[in-house]
Symmetry: C2
Subunit: 245 residues, 2 copies
């Protein structure tokens, strides 16, 4: 596979496009490419081009677009991952893997059993970091779409927003009760919003709020999963059960 | 959930059982439990008991078994995970997650694009480490079975052993060719041996060897997955597609 670069300014009518500092650094310092080297360019909105390095100087780089090519097909099931913010390296992995598994969007969630506070998310520049990881992951896995990473939201605010698709809250087997169904019992749908909790699980209040807001509470097998593994397992299970893998 | 301890010496006729040093350390130093405290004990072979701490002294601990209880149900699809050895923390996560996802056994695989050599696996005591992780993972996720972690094998040796179930080799979308099928095309079965490659993927020779040995080469969606995420995604997909989640 040719190295792929993210250029949100690329359009069908552009001939030469400048890369961002991050992308130029990857092209020049990491891969040491120079004028004429063949690459691919994608705009993050589902378009991809054959391309070549046009010019490289002092940490800047521009690329010349060639013919537009067929982008990787996006997932058939549109999944918005609404995932509790975990500690740094775990959340990085969640974002990276969610993009690889075809997430349509990622919403970091601030929960009662939070491992990370809103203050840390803000001050630590976490959202910007996750957006960079989403780009890097799309580059690596072949997607021409970079899913948006939204601002972190308290769960009440996330639930107050209109749902684009069925809202599904994954609950621990031990916390399942009346009204909880197995994921396999849900009918196939074109999309889903998947709410995944933190290491300590959801509080009773959060589960009640979710139910009152029309969330479906689901369990996934009998095993307790690691919080960092739950998003990837849930996304894979939904896509597999709904015939999208 | 009460804290759970692994006691391979527990049997239906035993009244009091001594714990291993690791388990006694967890009971005394980490959880600071003492005589009379209620716990649960499992033997790693699918049996579980209500129990109580009997005696604690100088780093040793014994437990008194109470009534046997219904263990967590094991996965309906018996999956042996044959996974390329990855660098340390990634392989730790693979073992931990595979146990949580119900693996029946784990076989560390030495591959051509190895990140870790046989020498490092031997000298670094990696197998013993992964066995401890398998126990810790079973304790945490509620399984009463601790799946065996076998000695690391070169792929030729792994393929030379008789297969207990259909052998399925996961291949990168870019390496798929004639004879490769989508995982969703496989018929449901009672079990599977899942071969998952290293970061650099399988070599042509490894794929040919696998095909010659009766392996089915499968792909899983169009995206390229991280090597450390591939085992968990593949196991989840198989269980979900075969109605076992």
């Amino acid at each position: 596979m040719l190295p792929r670069f993210f250029a949100p300014d690329a359009t069908a009518s552009a001939a030469v496009v400048a890369l961002s500092d991050d992308e130029a650094g990857h092209l020049t310092r990491v891969l040491r490419l120079g004028p004429g080297d063949p690459i691919r360019v994608f705009d993050g909105r589902g378009h991809e081009w054959e391309a070549a390095v046009e010019e490289v100087r002092r940490g800047e780089a521009s690329v010349r677009l060639g013919p537009q090519i067929e982008p990787m097909r996006e997932a058939g099931v549109s999944i918005t991952l609404v995932a509790a913010v975990l500690k740094a390296d775990h959340m990085d992995a969640v974002v990276r893997d969610a993009v690889m598994l075809g997430a349509a969007a990622i919403v970091p969630l601030l929960t009662d059993h939070a491992e990370v506070t809103a203050r840390v998310v803000d001050r630590g520049g976490r959202i910007a970091r996750w957006r960079r990881i989403a780009i890097a992951s799309a580059k690596q896995c072949g997607r021409a779409v970079v899913p948006p990473v939204h601002e972190a939201l308290p769960i009440a605010d996330a639930l107050a927003q209109p749902a684009a698709a069925a809202r599904i809250m994954l609950t621990e087997p031990s916390a399942s009760g009346p009204g909880t169904v197995a994921l396999s019992q849900l009918p196939r749908a074109a999309g889903a919003e998947l709410l995944i909790g933190p290491e300590g699980g959801w509080t009773v209040g959060e589960r009640q709020l979710a139910t009152a807001s029309g969330c479906i509470l689901v369990t996934l097998g009998a095993h307790t999963l690691r919080a960092a593994a739950a998003p990837i397992v849930a996304m894979t299970a939904v896509r597999a059960m709904w015939g999208d893998l």
